[in-house]
Symmetry: C2
Subunit: 412 residues, 2 copies
């Protein structure tokens, strides 16, 4: 590990105004003056990306993705250049680099590209010149020299990928909250900042509703062992560390449940009267996958007369496409009835400690059941248990569970 | 020459709105449908460049030029991508490329870089795919992979350089006027559009005040034999062709004077009482050159007692720097007195035909003299004669000369 290399990432709100860009410059110069080689990854300023999308939408409802990436990647280049100017103005030395200058190569899935490799040569040579290196986030370049973008939140991934390439000490993700919380502080006022999370815990929290970090960035960090520090750009408080927790000090007691997350952006689709024959369920999910609809939870049971029922949840924004696919399948697969329920929500508890603590699921179900909250679907994995309940009771459920597992008192 | 390759350039006003971008798309698709392989070079939309400069100026009064180029080059990338989207939306096939993707290599004089070479491979391979190729103007890349810009009006140069690399049939520069005129139509209402100009005539017209084409683009065209067609983006009228006129049909009579230009953006500096020793004038102009001040006209004469006087003109925007340099020199060189005159203007007549027609200069001087317009400085070259006069009489002088040389009646 290169102990003196630190990667910092600042999102759109952290570079949204000239004043904020100047603040980021101060932070970069301070870290550099402490003896670090510093890389800063930036997103586009404030609403820039949305404004560019708006411009394109005035020309076409279905613009070519390659050209959208060409268009949108300029936003990060602008904020990177402005930050370099700000650092220079304050007496520091800086250079801004876009995706192709760094050598961030991606696949060619425009608008949602995956990073394949990151070259470190240019960054290292800029370190040697004494420069703070600013990397335009969210973008890369294909083998054919076409500009790609990584999808929403992609700047997190850029930062982690650059940190991995440089074998950096850690990657700091600056955001507008103090870190990752035991649950949404807007719902539970005594939600606590979590000090340390394993990659898997963060992955489950992110995929079950916590929005603080981009899922793909956490996956990348896990695969490459990049230590992430999520913290606020508005203060100097320590935030949440996301890292390999296996080798942490034995004396440190792991919380059974690290956090409670929820997701109100889900829709339940129930399919009744499917002939209970092999391959029918497969066919159903195949067609949904073809339409690029991600399924979250699935529950299947066989009812009377060998007629099966399947319920599954999808994201709200996929509902229209999902409805269309289901109606086509209704005839093909001899489905009796399809019900769509938009009034559901998912509440989840996440914690690596659950693996070695039996009875956590039972505790969750009884905490909800005691208050008459009906559980409609359940899914479990070693470190997460999720329940689908009525949407109107989700905040109550979050509070109940946060309290039931003592998260308001956790000290880790 | 590749007879089916045409390069078109559209400036900032021609792509200033979504509607205008759509018009450019129509023009591109039409030319492609006529069997051409089409390259479009675009500037940034409307005021984009100025807005980016304004953003940077809020951070620094003296931003690093490398970072300014990183910043400003995004403007052209945005308009290139939007145009590609517009062409696709209208059923055409298009791809946008920035300077790096085309392979427009430049020197590393940031903000005022010169194009060294343009690769044609990527453009040709896009032609083979059936694409209209949109090239972001005004930008290039150094050997070290840093983004450069070519200075104001640089998109003209990009277009000509791309045309040269592809050995294109011609390079069309679309602008907001119908072509190059015998003089400024705002001054002389019967100014006529010139049909054909030699490179040298266009160079002299451009350098003596006509703003329709970037000087460096004409030089590049001359050096590489690129035929330029300057025309309006608002109609389909034929504009002005700029080309090698040596081999034009013999029967075509060349106009003695092709056009009258004027420049009110000049300041005259007169230096009195310089010791008439060798090297003093050289020293003077050396120091001005060091301060990056371009000198336009110079007149020197030796007065009484061997004390020389020198007058020269510089651009208005260089006045502050020029004044500073002159004051420092005043002591060093034992200069008696320096006078600065901001109330002057330059009026010029340009024409390749002057070479073989004696008496043109005399006709110019008497046309001005007859109306009592005093000539304060004169400079001549084979195809241009320029006179410095009082600024308040410049429009009158332009009208007089336009009439005196029959430009309101020219048929070429």
């Amino acid at each position: 590990m290169n102990k003196n290399i630190i990667v910092m990432k600042f999102g759109g709100t952290s570079v949204g105004t000239i004043e904020k860009i100047k603040n980021v410059a101060d932070r970069a110069i301070k870290s550099k003056s402490e003896g670090n080689n510093v890389v800063i990854t930036v997103s586009a300023m404030g609403d820039t990306t949305d404004e560019l999308i708006e411009l394109a939408s005035k020309i076409s409802k279905n613009p070519p993705r390659r050209e959208m990436d060409m268009l949108l990647s300029t936003g990060e280049q602008v904020s990177a250049a402005l930050l370099a100017i700000a650092i220079t103005e304050k007496g520091g030395r800086a250079v801004s680099l876009n995706g192709y200058q760094v050598g961030i190569s991606t696949d060619d899935v425009f608008s949602d590209a995956k990073i394949l490799t990151v070259k470190k040569d240019r960054i290292v040579s800029e370190f040697e010149k004494g420069n703070i290196v600013i990397v335009a986030g969210f973008q890369g370049i294909t083998d054919a020299n076409d500009i790609t973008t990584l999808g929403r939140g992609g700047s997190d991934t850029t930062a982690v990928a650059v940190a991995a390439a440089l074998n950096a000490k850690y990657c700091e993700i600056f955001t507008d909250v103090d870190g990752v919380f035991t649950t949404d502080p807007n719902v539970v006022s005594d939600a606590m900042k979590i000090k340390i999370l394993s990659y898997d815990e963060m992955l489950e929290l992110a995929s079950s509703g916590a929005k603080v970090l981009h899922l793909r960035a956490v996956e990348f960090a896990k695969n490459h062992g990049v230590v992430i520090h999520v913290r606020s750009s508005f203060n100097n408080n320590e935030g949440t560390w996301i890292m390999d927790t296996e080798n942490l000090n034995e004396k440190m007691e792991k919380a059974v449940v690290a956090g409670v997350s929820y997701d109100t952006n889900q829709v339940k689709i129930s399919v009744f009267g499917i002939p209970d024959k092999p391959g029918i369920a497969a066919k159903l999910f195949e067609e949904l996958a073809k339409a690029h609809i991600n399924i979250d939870m699935i529950v299947q049971n066989v009812g009377e007369k060998g007629i099966a029922a399947i319920s599954f949840t999808i994201k709200n924004e996929d509902l229209n496409t999902g409805r269309k696919v289901m109606e086509e399948l209704k005839h093909k697969l001899e489905i009796k009835n399809i019900e769509i329920d938009t009034e559901i929500a998912k509440v989840s508890i996440v914690g690596a400690g659950m693996k070695s603590h039996p009875g956590v699921a039972a505790a969750m179900f009884s905490a909800l059941g005691d208050k008459g909250i009906n559980i409609e679907m359940i899914s479990t994995s070693p470190i997460i248990i999720s329940c689908v309940i009525r949407k109107e009771r989700v905040k109550e459920a979050v509070k109940l569970l946060h309290n039931a597992f003592g998260l308001d008192k956790q000290k880790l």
